[in-house]
Symmetry: none
Subunit: 154 residues, 4 copies
């Protein structure tokens, strides 16, 4: 006999994803670090599927960084790794050489994109651009730290 | 005192999403209908974020439909509505007129794209192309029906 | 005799442009209206050149609207008019017919994009997407009103 | 009591930007150098946001350079640095390795793009293409020098 559909019978996946407020906390941490080091940044937060949740270009952030910040967040979330990991893996002679131009150039291999990971699951991505790659990365990390601290306090 | 992070304290969203096996069931229903009406189709299944899970071009499916089927599934999942709803809403003189060329032309307003909805939530999209729009739609619907039936039986 | 360059001798243009904080005020007004009418939106703010300053996807905002909101703001700022003005001007038989697919589909003719105008000068653009076009437009207008009110109070 | 909006109360940014006549002066300097060295060039001038103000393909300028010259000017203005600075910063093993394919390949790292800077502010960009990179750069520099000289004489 047929019985009504029960949720637990689905094969369906259950996904954790950054919400709008989470994105603002990440943004806050990154923005504050950028202000501290004196480099106005473009900051992008995506969900775990690489789709944009929030973006901000600080006064003086670079025009070219509007796309680059988003693509760093997209790459980090979508590929589940830091963009700079691709940087080393894509050096001439390495296995991923040339990957930087994939997806119409959206696959970013320069530092500044990090996955947001909660309990081992990628739930989003954060991407920064406008400074030196190491500065971009430091601000992305500051975003993650601020987010992590804010969760502990809840 | 700091305490370990508890899952229920996150602002994080929880999302239901089609899995790989779900996609094959949808595909099976659509393919079987396409065979039945004698029109080889391109069939695309995306997750709820519009990202491709599964694709199949039956022998004889149109080359141009490779992109169209994917974009129908993307539109249905991403916009949470049937593509043919945009078809009527975007007629000359209607409010969404001109929307068909949005997102680089990925926003499909031709019949054949349907959201996959479980318990009121969009969990994916299915898009068909190669036949007349009404045939594409019929096959998409057949995919949904087969999926729905298979869930009842589990 | 050569004399040092004086600023007033330049032919250079002087442009007024939304800053980062201005963008947040516009965002706030639009978000609050969206919440009030119960439609989670994608909200984009660009500068007068059409380059993105701020973006937010409210929980439940459509994936397809991520690009559409940005392109509405881009169109409104870049073309210095409301997107719905193009909607009427581009109807079949009208002079701008077909303009909707221009710029790779970025030229939006659906309501929901408005230029931000200060003292007769376009200083930016605001674009909303996820609801009915009339709802998108109402939220864009709410953004402008909130911005305008906030300036009077300063 | 509310008082009329005064310009100085805005948070708004004030931007200096190349005008149409400025662009022609830059063009003149670059074109004259190109003629002098006997290499017909594509010459592009953008404003500080990277949007094109003027373009010229001299008789014999390369077809492929139409896009490249524009993208060099876009990169120089948008990123506020010479394109050849990215050239060295993006060598294998360097921090910006792989950046050349960003923004759909618009991020140019080859010499020939320079920001136009007035009193420390980027007001536009100039990009040349068709010759050897060193020739492209020499012509871009000639454009800047001619512009700079013309301002002194006003």
């Amino acid at each position: 006999m047929e019985k009504p559909i029960q949720n637990e019978e689905f094969i369906m996946l259950t996904i954790k994803r950054l919400g709008c407020d989470d994105a603002q906390i990440l943004m806050e941490g990154a923005r504050s670090k950028a202000a501290h080091i004196g480099v106005p940044m473009c900051i992008a937060i995506t969900d775990e599927s690489g789709n944009l949740i929030a973006f901000e270009r600080m006064n003086g952030g670079k025009i070219t960084s509007i796309t680059i910040a988003q693509d760093k967040a997209f790459t980090a979330a979508g590929a589940k790794k830091a963009t700079h990991e691709y940087g080393s893996a894509s050096q001439p002679g390495s296995a991923a050489y040339g990957i930087n131009s994939a997806i119409g150039g959206r696959l970013m291999v320069v530092a500044g994109g990090l996955p947001v990971i909660i309990e081992g699951e990628v739930v989003g991505g954060i991407g920064l651009s406008s400074g030196m790659p190491a500065q971009d990365l430091a601000c992305a990390q500051a975003g993650l730290e601020h987010f992590s601290n804010s969760m502990v306090q809840r």
